[in-house]
């Protein structure tokens, strides 16, 4: 894995710079006043040391020598890597065992004899169809989300119109509504529109549901781009669409990447909407539905269930390991307004 290049000192100087450039004075007296009245006191030998909090503070300060903290942080890294990676390894390991073989003592992650028979079962059950359906739905869904949310984010960032803030608030409010809540009426809506059991219906639904968060993220990126760029383009004779396409799209690209990656993960993984819209139309089933149905059939065949899980998560993991750097970078640099 390559190391992030923009990291160590770049990050710190960056944030200091942005703060100076936004016009605030930077001498430390001013800093002091601006941090919300929370005065920072030096180590105080006052009675409060007797309270639990006081003792905790003292403890934290004395134990906080760099070596101790470094060691604690390394320990935390090790524990979290184990906690977050081990289940995945275990499932991969379980899926590779020959039929009937249990985990033996002593424990070995790779079985002495690797068998792919569990994977054969999964592919015979229709895994290729599920993967294909998920890919189609994800590509169309993410494309649709971008096509709808980029213009909207542009409008919220670049137009001044009455009720702009209010409308943005309303759009964001929908982000607070989980699609699970409206699943019951959604069923009747989809039924009325003739969209039940169709792929188009599912894609439209994803676009409708995931757009608010995408708009919010993208608007943050648009806001960071100086409007002078727009004016220059307009003077050169660009209309607004051309301005967006030829001038603004490039600087917003990291934000678009974040939105695309985020929505790819959501769309690929989504279950309850797909399950409700596609119903029993098994030739349209996505990976989540397929794997769920599969485990219903194979009950206690843990090898087969493990194999199905591996196939279901592998594509995303591969894509994400390649792109996660841009994802985190985009999120951190951009203005996930917080």
């Amino acid at each position: 894995m390559t190391h992030d290049t923009h990291r160590p000192d770049g990050a710190t100087t960056d944030s200091a710079d942005t703060h100076q450039s936004d016009g605030t004075t930077t001498d430390s007296a001013d800093t002091h006043r601006s941090d919300g009245g929370a005065t920072i006191e030096p180590e105080r030998p006052d009675p409060s040391t007797d309270t639990a909090v006081g003792r905790l503070e003292k403890f934290a300060d004395t134990v906080g020598s760099p070596v101790v903290v470094d060691a604690a942080v390394y320990l935390l890294y090790a524990v979290s890597v184990a906690f977050f990676v081990f289940p995945v390894l275990w499932v991969v390991s379980a899926s590779l065992r020959p039929a009937g073989e249990l985990f033996s003592y002593p424990f070995r992650l790779l079985p002495p004899e690797v068998s792919l028979s569990a994977y054969r079962q999964v592919f015979d059950a229709g895994m290729v169809t599920w993967l294909f359906n998920s890919t189609v739905v994800t590509v169309l869904g993410v494309g649709g989300i971008l096509a709808v949310s980029i213009p909207a984010a542009y409008a919220f960032s670049r137009f001044e119109f009455r009720g702009r803030r209010g409308l943005l608030g309303v759009v964001l409010m929908f982000q607070m509504i989980s699609p699970v809540i409206i699943i019951v009426p959604l069923y009747t809506v989809m039924s009325t529109l003739g969209l039940l059991r169709t792929r188009a219906g599912l894609v439209l639904l994803y676009v409708g549901i995931q757009t608010p968060f995408s708009i919010w993220l993208l608007k943050g990126y648009f806001d960071t781009i100086p409007t002078e760029l727009d004016y220059a383009a307009r003077i050169d004779g660009c209309n607004r669409l051309q301005t967006l396409r030829y001038v603004l799209l490039r600087p917003v690209a990291p934000g678009i990447a974040v939105v695309a990656i985020f929505n790819t993960v959501l769309t690929w993984s989504e279950f309850v909407l797909a399950f409700t819209v596609l119903r029993s139309e098994s030739r349209l089933h996505t990976i989540s539905i397929g794997v769920y149905k599969f485990q219903g059939q194979y009950g206690n065949d843990w090898r087969a269930i493990a194999a199905a899980s591996v196939v279901g998560m592998l594509p995303l993991i591969v894509v994400f390991l390649g792109l996660q750097r841009y994802f985190v970078k985009g999120l951190v640099e951009g203005s996930l307004k917080g």
Binding site: T31, F159, I183
Partner: protein, 311 residues
Amino acid sequence: MATADSTTEQVLTRVRATWRRLLEQPLVWLAPTLVLLAVFQLYPMLEAVLMSFTDESLVRPGAEFVGIQQYARLATDPEFWEMLRVTAVYAFSSVVLHVLLGLVLALAIDYGVRRGLRGHLTTRVSVLLAWIVPGIIIGLVWKVMLVESQFGAINHFLGLVGVGPVPFRSDPTLALASTIAAGTWRGTAFSMIMIYGGLQRVPTRLYEAARVDGAGRWHRFRHVTLPQLKSVLFVTTVLVTIYALNTFDLIFALTGGGPGRATQVLALFMYQEAFQDYALGRGAAIAVVMLAANLLLTGVYLYAFDISEEV
């Protein structure tokens, strides 16, 4: 020929001018979003409320207005209150664990980056790895982890030290704890990334000033980092709460709500009522209760964090 060309030219110019004028209208840019939101979010929400006052059913055409009967039925159903409790326990534990673990990990990774420690990237990628696994598959992964045979990792290792097998999925309390653990496995990444992003935006001069004043590590965290993270923590907590309150896929696959109704959260209950018992009206009433809980909690957080001017 020449005249034809100039008329085409004229038409083209007029089209271009109209297009240009159209593009000056914000509504043109917002129209697709507004239409989609109206059809797939606003209308269903209103419809949910209307539906909850009827006895609409999936298997019988037509519906009658029944007033608050569905709500009355819920309120007098002891099982509903039990499910409300299960949902609250699940959501509360999840929020606390996600946000705390996310905060600790974000601080640790930030610290590692600043001090040049090795392994912060591996840690970050590992946590994110869990987040991108589809919910249904997380349910299955943890099912395999917790199974009461040699295939279950936890019981495998407990067996090595002579303990167990522990009935993780058939004991009511353990089953609920298992869903919370699996939920935390998935959800921590989101809080971690949000808070990590927030940490990058704390101006370093604040830390320098605090250091000049002689503030120790704890004081710097308490009086510089935390206040600066306030709005990020707010947004994260709200989103995590909503996410936890409406968890469906993971529990659906891991325990299916069982044993009995030990892990039957409201989302699962609603789904069952609507699509397995075909009682859309009853399902809608549960949906409205969930909606109210979502809005109420968002309101409480807005008040508690007191950052209305920042969000």
